[in-house]
Symmetry: C2
Subunit: 386 residues, 2 copies
């Protein structure tokens, strides 16, 4: 196990009705920038509920709305301007991971003299931020409890992740009933996102991090158990609860710290496809099994066999068939059980000439630590996933 620092300062209020804790924001100042995406939080009543709690607590509310599913730097800049102009004390995201990501960079931008895009490209410039709060409406990215944010600049056709200790939210409200109205397809995409985070942390060559690996398996088993229930029975509280709480843990340090993983599929999906119509989560169920097959070797077989036995409950004693079955089950789960796309073609990548652009955009650090990969390897994985 590698040395690490574990620091998860976010207070989570989990369960039905926990939105009442938005009143606690009064302890952080007077002026709150309430940030959200489209109108869904107005339709489902969360907006009215939240603004009443904030007003009753004596807070003055300013608004940044229209945050995109892949948040744009232009929206971030607009939020930063608002924070400066109105001397905002704190930011509150109500929405999914994209909304929270946007708000994080707004909070840091408000404390930075230059342009907010600098903070996306150079995370080391993030030194301070306004206090960040969130009320989550989709179980997926884990942004409600982590240090990361992904921002897009369409003018540059670039999409990058940034991070900073001060981007970890001060408090997040996780009410699983808020995800009852999430459509089946989006529920499945969120599930793919969180499952990929778990995979990225799980597959590392560090055998010493035994407890982290067993906990990653616990999260994967929970997703495999609850994932198929939620799209079928949208108001199944138990399924929504377990997906929501698993999503946070896949990326909040619990299963990653000590393993020093360098993420691969998630980062390729993210930084390679900014101009594609599909969100990151739609590319992951395609690339992940293709990646598994590509990196499978005598050296990695043992890890995949452990995965097959501990996550899928496979019982064979010979590693090779267990391994093959584990990868097949992974693909089958994504495509047949969760109805996610199976090929890059299905998400609009119909021509190999896209690969060059995708590879060019792939960050240097995105080549994987489990098995280091060359650009040629990545192209082969893309090709296998056509």
């Amino acid at each position: 196990m590698y040395n690490f620092t574990f620091h998860v300062p976010t207070t989570i209020h989990f369960g039905k009705g926990q939105i009442s804790h938005l009143a606690d924001l009064a302890g952080y100042g007077k002026k709150v920038l309430l940030c959200y995406g489209g109108g869904s939080i107005k339709r489902n009543g969360i907006y009215d509920q939240a603004t009443k709690i904030l007003s009753d607590a004596g807070l003055e509310i300013f608004e940044l709305s229209g945050i995109e599913p892949n948040p744009r730097i232009q929206t971030v800049r607009h939020g930063v301007e608002l924070c400066r102009k109105e001397s905002i004390d704190m930011v509150l995201a109500i929405g999914d991971g994209s909304t929270i990501d946007c708000v994080k960079v707004v909070a840091a931008g408000a404390k930075y003299d230059g342009d907010a895009w600098d903070l996306v490209i150079h995370p080391e410039l993030i030194k301070d931020a306004l206090p960040i709060f969130s009320a989550l409406t989709l179980a997926a990215t884990g942004s409600e409890m982590d240090a990361f944010a992904v921002i897009l600049d369409m003018t540059k056709n670039e999409k990058w992740d940034t991070a900073g200790e001060c981007l970890k939210p001060t408090m997040s409200v996780l009410d699983p009933t808020y995800t009852f109205s999430v459509p089946a397809r989006q529920t499945a995409a969120g599930m793919t996102d969180m499952m990929s985070h778990a995979f990225e942390n799980y597959f590392s060559m560090d055998d010493g991090a035994y407890v982290q690996k067993r906990m990653a398996e616990a999260l994967l088993k929970t997703m495999i158990h609850s994932g198929p229930i939620a799209p079928e029975k949208p108001d199944d509280y138990d399924a929504r609860v377990n997906l929501m709480w698993s999503a946070s843990h896949t990326i909040n340090s619990l299963v990653g710290e000590g393993c020093a993983p360098v993420w691969s599929c998630t980062r390729w999906s993210m930084s390679s496809l900014p101009s594609m119509t599909s969100p990151t989560a739609r590319a992951l169920p395609i690339l992940t099994p293709a990646w598994m097959e590509h990196v499978l070797s005598e050296k990695t077989e043992k890890q995949f066999a452990i995965y097959g036995r501990n996550v899928w409950g496979l019982t064979g004693t010979d590693d090779a068939p267990v391994t093959r079955e584990a990868i097949a089950r992974t693909r089958q789960f994504f495509t047949e059980t969760m109805h996610m796309p199976a090929t890059l073609h299905e998400v609009g990548i119909t021509d190999e000439k896209h690969f060059d652009v995708m590879i060019q955009k792939a960050a240097d650090g995105s080549k994987g630590s489990f098995v280091p990969l060359t650009k040629e390897d990545i192209v082969e994985i893309y090709r296998a996933a056509k």
Copy 2:
């Protein structure tokens, strides 16, 4: 799953050499009360290392030494006096869970006008505390990352646990190499302690907390894997690492929040046996399997069968034999693998007349939530464990 608030503010610096982070204490004031037990931290060099780092960081060091394995309220009072007299800014425990427990109540006592024993009996009086730091030397109680402390008053023959949000340490250093010198018997006792914490959180009737249960299984599997290695090969870094990090997670909220468990065996062992020579951990391997057998019924069989399959890897499809085997394996693991005592007789409880005292001391809240138990039930469990 029940509603809950998750708040784990302790920063953990984990791994070899992380003691250097004691220099960070300079950010919290000038005067530190360094607290420890016997002379072992002087013999193994940790004392010299720590005092040099603290001095180099410009801190003025005061000392409270001789903290007992079951810390006494008299020692706490002495610590509180020192804090007041010297206007101490922060407290630092170097040692095991007992040392950290003592230091927690010292830190709260320094901010309380009355006698520190009030804070043990009435946790609700704990409102504030000096910043608490620790460097851990034994994987066991999880005190380095939780809100709890257990204090003994020999004059009253009473031992109680108390708790407070402000008792959660600000920072703890977890260097697994510091546990290399822990004797085999003490390593095993520590393992029993952490395993019992996991059991207490794991066995609840709340089926909805799926992810917490899978994570508790992950911790139990890690202990069963690493537990037997550490006493045999004391300097096995991987084993020590995984035990140390599991111990913290069994009690830091991760597997307990959302399940609302009311602890049973741990609290009986603790509050019932203050005047016995054996520490809590020595009674647990005796009482836990006896408790399992006592509460086994048609209603609870399913949970024990899940335990058998997911933790012990048992494969039978019929619940009854899996359940019996799971309980047998638990007992066998404690007594044969970890060489812990098998009967109350072995830990000095040779006469049933002790049971009356033990029962009298058992706290009202210690009768279990998995299966509510009467005093008669508890006596039957003691009797079965003779």
